[in-house]
Symmetry: C2
Subunit: 389 residues, 2 copies
């Protein structure tokens, strides 16, 4: 590459995801005050659009924090000290639920599965029978650290007939993969702004069912900033308990309208198609994905690819970014250097997957991986062609 | 006013404050990933610039939350259940400290003063002598709900020689009013992005001394998202524990550089001059300010003005906003309708105070207040002239 070549940048991580230009420009507009009719309208519109995205009639609270804040809120607002909770854990974010529970003196039963697997509804059913005093079950939908999609529909069926509530971390799934909070009987659902919602990080979303609300009324864990009772009261007046991240709320308004316009069905199909193209593409050049298919379903918002033997895994993302302008994500913690994660989430179309795969091929080739150069790109093209033409 | 007239908007609340155009445009740039060398540099630069603003060698943590999040962090990171804390309270935000302490099972001694007053160092000294087991003293610097500036320099002298740490909410003061964390021996200091820092809400800042750090190591209150030990470790690697509000961090970088360029001394003088002009201006048309001067010092970042008898206080801010495009703040909670608050904070110059006073005069006149029309504007002009020419 000539050094004087323009390095065009593409953000293809599984969060933060690319922000549409018209949404970016919303944040460059003069700031408005949050206790004004103009902003109350933004909150009301966002609320209704979020209900649509979550497919729920429940309240959906917008918190000024990253997703971890919503995860904490999902523990502290529904449970009381020494309550028993089951955490389904097969990756960094499942583990985070367990960590938060322990930080708040919750008695945690962690059902673990290896990275690349999920925890099956049958295992949960057994654990719930052995622990009928379980107050809450925490699970990922899309485990962002491994690219595995948990079967939350089956999990919800198991939890539904117990006293426990089901808390689903949908941070890298909701708004991109099929999700029907009410129909599937999910009690608490979380999402994050920098994922399917196509805006920068800084907002998280949390919705809760009637069953969860009853537990909320009895919860005695300490909380203040993340107090959902207070936030719900504020939401009913189209406001927030604390000063909100105004510019992100406004960007969200613009992004949610784009999502509504495309429609959930189309969004879901788009993500599924691109994910399939991506998986087939990487497999076509001899790479393996981390999710152990068909035992588990891979997530449609990112593809976690195993670093092939003999290749320096840390260099794949840095080379793609620094030499080809394409930002993806590496593996986290114990998966560092062992996988790389191709995001295809949010404001991401069929052209983007081609760019992403092409940069991946260049990086792999430079690092000495032997494969049929161009094949992953062509494979993706074929999948797209079959579905679109 | 003709209905077809352009309504030009001015945001003059004591937070959110106006955002400079060049800072707004930073947020419209394509989003970057937060785990990249490019963003590590932003964090490092911000950290050093924040140390300058706080006048400290201590770590300054940036949290993705509004100021209330930093207030919560200042309780949960340094105290343990049933610890004793003294809260100096003469307004909504002092009361919030007491609320947070109670939510976390802290034994609270609230030293209250009427709205418009502050709590004196002598009272605190007495309370500390009666309660030598006090672990922390919480105080406002600028109480945003009343416009009173607490004498934190004297308060710090009293706390310095005890076992307790001093926590100062400087949310509407730091970066605009003189503040020397290290020299004054402040142990924990809080600030918020939408105040002197000239960016939208969504970030809060918290710095802590060695004395506070020692308490932090022993603190057993539960926390997760607001865990400062984790954040400090991350900051040392130029990163954050959780996904940060990237676009706000970048805007902050741009705003902090503007602040550094102007220099703290000049910023402080600018705020003091405009505040003096504002106070003299409102008094010149027979209005009174809420702070009981000279018993207390008024804040230099906002002026809380009492609504004159017979005037509908709720209508002053709404008329100024809807008819003249000037957004100020009303009174909060029990002060609703009784005061209005003129912000003069952050990206706010001498022209702005003239615009703000002019809109206030028009609104007051329309609401039937009798005064010498034009006098407050001219009074402000005179103060400015005396200082600048």
């Amino acid at each position: 590459m000539r050094n004087d070549q323009v390095l065009k940048h593409f953000l293809y991580s599984p969060g933060p995801t690319p922000v549409p230009e018209e949404v970016l420009l919303e944040m460059a507009k003069p700031l408005i005050h949050h206790r004004t009719p103009q902003f109350f309208k933004i909150i009301q519109e966002n609320f209704e659009l979020l209900q649509y995205i979550f497919q729920t009639k429940n309240p959906v609270i917008t918190i000024t924090s990253s997703g971890t804040g919503a995860m904490e809120a999902s523990v502290t607002n529904f449970l009381s000290p020494k309550d028993k909770a089951i955490v389904l854990s097969a990756g960094k974010f499942g583990e985070r639920f367990a960590e938060i529970c322990r930080a708040y003196n919750i008695s945690v039963i962690e059902i673990k599965a290896p990275y690349g697997m999920d925890v099956k509804a049958e295992e949960l059913e057994k654990a719930l029978k052995q622990n009928p005093d379980t107050k809450a079950v925490f699970t990922e939908y899309s485990e962002t650290s491994t690219g595995v999609a948990f079967d939350i529909k089956s999990i919800a069926k198991v939890v539904k007939n117990t006293e426990a509530i089901l808390v689903v971390d949908g941070i890298s799934a909701i708004g991109a993969m099929e999700f029907k909070m009410d129909e599937w009987a999910i009690d608490v659902a979380l999402a994050g702004s920098q994922k399917a919602f196509m805006i920068p990080p800084g907002l998280s979303f949390i919705s809760f069912s009637e069953k969860a609300k009853k537990m909320m009324e009895k919860s005695t864990l300490p909380k203040y900033y993340f107090n959902l009772t207070k936030e719900k009261e504020s939401l009913e007046k189209n406001t927030t308990a604390w000063t909100p991240a105004i510019s992100l709320f406004i960007a969200l308004n613009s992004a949610l309208k784009l999502m509504k316009k495309e429609g959930l069905e189309s969004i879901t199909k788009r993500h599924a198609l691109i994910a399939e193209a991506c998986r087939k593409a990487v497999q076509s050049i001899g790479l393996s994905i981390l999710p152990v298919v068909p035992a588990v379903k891979p997530s449609d918002t990112l593809t976690a690819v195993k670093v092939p033997a003999g290749i320096d895994g840390l260099k794949i993302p840095s080379l793609m970014r620094d030499k080809y302008g394409v930002t993806i994500a590496g593996g986290q913690e114990s998966l560092k250097g062992k996988i790389f994660r191709l995001g295809h989430l949010g404001y991401f179309g069929i052209s983007d997957i081609i760019i992403e795969l092409q940069a991946m091929e260049l990086a792999l080739k430079e690092l000495g991986y032997k494969f049929d150069y161009g094949k992953s790109v062509f494979t993706a093209q074929k999948v797209i062609e079959e579905h679109l033409l």
